[in-house]
Symmetry: C2
Subunit: 275 residues, 2 copies
């Protein structure tokens, strides 16, 4: 049972079409969160228990569809966040899809071609580790397309999510916000840990040189596509424990809005004769 | 080589957002077509040869994407038209997808979920036998959704095709137009031919009772979604030979607009030493 509920979705929510700068969002923000780490951890654990309960009902009810999108710069914490958030969900109703650079056959098609098959059906939670937004970010930062084509792509993303929402998908989008110093710290830590070497991608490392262009691209993209039916949340992510608490609270609240219920039996179960 | 080219796409093209009645379109129209059947057949054969040549180039070039959509009432001639049009294409660059009533798993997702995986990639021609339009027609005629939701669905179809077109798909849409008497004749012929009994679908037969509602739904749908980048053509289809000539001519013209070319070798082939 959550007794105090002072973490507000509104604080993290991006307002549609309102210009902003990511550097004005504090990646260490802790407002409304417990002051001590062990309290943060305890509260997160309670949120996760509630999420798992709600996801169980959602799967049983076979009515609602939930899509959770994670975007972040490299080392932003997508993998860890997803594991914490969804590690205890019933995998029968869960599907995590990770997107890398498009393959040759994916590249032969429109960018949503590789996305659409993985959107959730009834009773499912789908989580995207990176997403359709990559196909706007990368061509923009690397100037592969002209402005007009980029604008069209952004509008296609908006339309795509509008269609999904109209067809019953609850969409929640997270941008994990770390600052450039934090990224440096994490890359150095990764370098020192042989078990994390597999996570190094030289292409990603090169993207660090484009930090400012990516931040700018994110600012425009988040503002343009943070519709009421598919809001973006900027989650302060320098501190992983606090990040997880914010994520879990927002997801729990969205799931509660859906109020999933175990379906009622079509007959009087107490009358059932079990031989 | 086509010497006379008097069949104009414009004659069959639906004008976007302009109201019309299907009963004002003559399902026996033969304007611009040769007067004698053997001449119609000869001209169709020449068009088909040219289409196959263009499709071969398109596949080799690996650049353009083509989507051809067929809609019609039952017995409208979709199967036969597709066989005539595409039977000689290189199957390596061709993919025909036939849509029936959605399966349980398809129905659990948004209606475009079962469509998107089958849109063409570079170098491919995709043909849809029925399509995403069914998921507007059927709920409308059977009053499964309210007006507002139907309007949204129609807008989603428009946005979906706009996205595909912006991402390089050439979209051609055919409505095979037969009248109610012709349908009766074809159903009776089907009844008399045991080899065609498998084509009977009792659900389809029942749809004949909704003939007028379907015609009305088609009228609104064709007008709303006949965008420049995804035009609808109403093809007079009471006569199969003439129908095929019109279809082949329109497809050939669209393929010619794309002007597909065999790729040039990256080196001087005449210098190649073959041991």
């Amino acid at each position: 049972m959550i007794t105090t509920d002072v973490i507000s979705r509104k604080r993290y929510r991006v307002e549609q079409d309102k210009k902003f700068r990511l550097k004005d969002w504090d990646a260490n923000d802790r407002e409304g969160l417990p002051p001590e780490t062990h309290l943060v951890i305890d509260q997160t654990a309670r949120e996760i228990v509630r999420i798992e309960e709600l996801q169980g009902r959602l799967h049983a009810e076979h009515k609602h569809k939930v899509l959770i999108v994670f975007q972040a710069t490299d080392t932003g914490g997508k993998d860890g966040s997803i594991r914490r958030l969804a590690g205890g969900m019933d995998p029968a109703g869960l599907r995590v899809t990770s997107y890398k650079a498009p393959s040759a056959i994916e590249y032969d098609h429109d960018p949503l071609w590789r996305i659409h098959p993985h959107v959730p059906g009834k009773g499912q939670v789908a989580i995207f580790n990176r997403s359709h937004y990559e196909d706007y970010l990368v061509p923009r930062v690397h100037k592969i397309f002209d402005e007009k084509r980029l604008e069209k792509r952004l509008r296609h993303l908006l339309h795509f999510e509008e269609m999904l929402a109209d067809e019953g998908v609850c969409i929640i989008k997270f941008f994990l916000h770390i600052d450039k110093d934090e990224q440096k710290k994490r890359l150095l830590a990764r370098q020192e840990n042989p078990e994390k070497h597999w996570k190094f991608d030289l292409a990603d490392l090169k993207e660090r040189d484009h930090w400012d262009e990516y931040q700018k691209a994110y600012e425009d993209m988040l503002a343009f596509t943070s519709a009421d039916h598919a809001p973006w949340y900027i989650v302060p992510a320098n501190n992983k424990k606090r990040r997880d608490l914010v994520l879990a609270t927002i997801v729990r609240k969205h799931l509660e809005d859906l109020a999933p219920q175990f379906p009622k039996a079509a007959f009087d179960v107490s009358e059932l004769k079990i031989k």
